[in-house]
């Protein structure tokens, strides 16, 4: 049975730090979605940077790739309201939580789905998250194509975190950089970092 809104409120609103609160919210949503027989949602975008940098970067909403119907069913039960033409935005005033649904599958493809990481939280809860490699490329794309001045810096921060867990597959990063036309941006980033996985 899905946790009730009251239970979710009780669990989340006692967490003071909004960064931790968002992480535990996604973990609870993931647990409920898995119980419904679908795969766990994948955290992408700014929320993925927030999680990997453990709150150094902060975001206001949660970018998710998820099975829409299962997610919607749970969010409605938890008091969320959907907005936008295709109900992309889900907002809860009670929980002070904002979900941006970006589709069911990763744009990066099947391989990216197999490379996702799992973050183990307290109480056995887990969050599925875009791989370090695909997030780095995502940020480089944001820097190049969206003209987002900050994204290159956060790509660099994600590289540093990945290096600490020896988790960076540079062959895959380069392959993805070529596919997304951000090779020059990647080379510039590597030249300015201590990446030891060249």
């Amino acid at each position: 049975m899905v946790r009730s809104l009251e239970v979710v409120k009780q669990e989340l609103l006692q967490i003071v730090d909004p960064v931790k609160r968002r992480a535990f919210f996604v973990a609870m949503l993931s647990e409920e979605m898995i119980a419904k027989g679908v795969t766990a949602p994948i955290v992408v975008g700014g929320e993925a940077v927030e999680l990997y940098t453990q709150g150094s970067y902060t975001t206001g909403d949660i970018d998710l790739k998820a099975d829409f119907n299962a997610m919607k069913e749970i969010l409605l039960l938890w008091g969320f309201k959907g907005a936008g033409a295709n109900k992309r935005i889900w907002a809860s005033k009670d929980l002070d939580m904002y979900v941006d649904w970006l589709g069911a599958k990763l744009d990066e493809g099947i391989e990216a789905e197999t490379r996702t990481n799992s973050i183990a939280l307290d109480r056995g809860l887990k969050v599925r998250i875009l791989s370090f490699e695909d997030l780095i490329i995502d940020r480089l794309c944001a820097a190049k194509f969206w003209d987002d001045a900050d994204s290159e810096m956060w790509a660099s921060a994600v590289i540093e975190v990945a290096n600490r867990v020896k988790g960076l597959d540079m062959d895959y990063v380069r392959k993805r950089a070529e596919a997304e036309d951000v090779v020059n941006e990647l080379n510039k980033l590597i030249a300015g970092s201590d990446t030891d996985n060249r």
């Binding site: 609103l13 006692q14 967490i15 003071v16 730090d17 960064v19 931790k20 992480a23 535990f24 975008g45 700014g46 999680l51 990997y52 940098t53 453990q54 709150g55 150094s56 970067y57 975001t59 206001g60 909403d61 309201k81 907005a83 936008g84 935005i89 907002a91 809860s92 005033k93 002070d96 904002y98 941006d100 990481n117 799992s118 973050i119 183990a120 939280l121 307290d122 887990k126 998250i129 944001a142 969206w146 003209d147 987002d148 001045a149 900050d150 994204s151 810096m153 660099s156 921060a157 540093e160 975190v161 600490r164 867990v165 988790g167």
Partner: protein
């Protein structure tokens, strides 16, 4: 003027909720480049957090980010 923090938080949360439902979401991109010192400061913050909460992997391959392993209660 003195503003009570909880009141400010309540107003901000209401505004965020209403703007989200109206499709007015905050811009996620920054067009103005930060100055190099600010970039350095943010990178230093990120490194310090990773030093204080060193990431690792558990036996089953899950990523352990210690910042999230302890929940601060109110």
């Amino acid at each position: 003027m003195e503003i009570e923090y909880e009141e400010l938080r309540r107003i901000a949360a209401t505004s965020m909720f209403e703007r989200s439902l109206a499709g007015l979401r905050p811009a996620k991109r920054r067009r103005k480049p930060r100055d190099p010192e600010k970039v350095q400061l943010l990178m230093m913050k990120s490194r310090n957090v990773a030093d204080k909460f060193p990431p690792s992997r558990s036996e089953d391959g899950a990523l352990v980010l210690p910042y999230f392993s302890r929940v601060d209660l109110a």
